[in-house]
């Protein structure tokens, strides 16, 4: 799964540690999400979407079934 987490975070000038603290996860989790090594749970994906005021679909893209 691809995501635009790094771009959204950079737009707000947040460090990985800042975002990790706001989401209540470790910095390692943010890094793993950004480089695509880890797909978040639905609960975390919703939390991320709420934080950036976007929908989950705006942030995460299913590479096997991309939206038209």
């Amino acid at each position: 799964m691809k995501n635009s987490l790094r771009v959204l975070r950079a737009e707000r000038e947040w460090s990985q540690a800042d975002l990790a603290e706001q989401l209540g996860v470790s910095r390692q989790t943010i890094n793993a999400l950004e480089v695509g090594k880890y797909d978040p749970s639905l609960a975390l994906a919703f939390k991320i979407a709420r934080m950036f005021e976007r929908t989950i679909h705006d942030i995460f893209t299913d590479e096997e079934h991309p939206r038209a």
Binding site: V25, S26, Q28, T29, A32, Y38, P40, L44
Partner: protein
């Protein structure tokens, strides 16, 4: 290794864990000092063997609390490592059992199971850390 990935990464849990592990060691030593040899299955000897299990289970309960307090990636790393430890230990036990049956290699005590359990768990955490870093 990331601090978050340590099973006992939270100070209050770590304190309680070492408190119960200390009680476990004291109970073992007290039992060994107070109980006469040789070992036999009477009430006093059985109590000396069973009582230390109480603080040991309390210490192990702290590890569960610690895992529950982790974030989802850290929990995944821990669960994958524990799964590797479980599956690997089963394979080793079966392998050694067959070797004992077929080739007559010496019997090992159950006590030594901590070696593959802890060793494979450590390998699992290391691999998980590397995979997600």
């Amino acid at each position: 290794m990331s601090n978050m990935t340590n099973l006992l990464c939270f100070p209050h849990l770590r304190r309680r864990y070492w408190l119960w592990m200390g009680a476990y060691v004291v109970a073992i030593m007290a039992g060994a000092l107070l109980i006469s040899k040789p070992p036999r299955p009477d009430a006093a000897h059985l109590a000396a063997g069973i009582i230390p299990l109480v603080p040991l289970f309390l210490a192990l309960a702290e590890t569960f609390r610690s895992v529950r307090a982790m974030d989802e990636l850290q929990r995944r790393i821990q669960i994958d490592a524990l799964l590797l430890s479980l599956v690997g230990t089963i394979a080793i036990v079966l392998g050694v059992g067959i070797l004992q049956f077929m080739a007559g290699i010496p019997l090992f005590g159950v006590f030594w199971l901590w070696l593959p359990i802890c060793g494979l768990y450590a390998v699992g955490v290391f691999l998980g850390q590397r995979r997600y870093s």
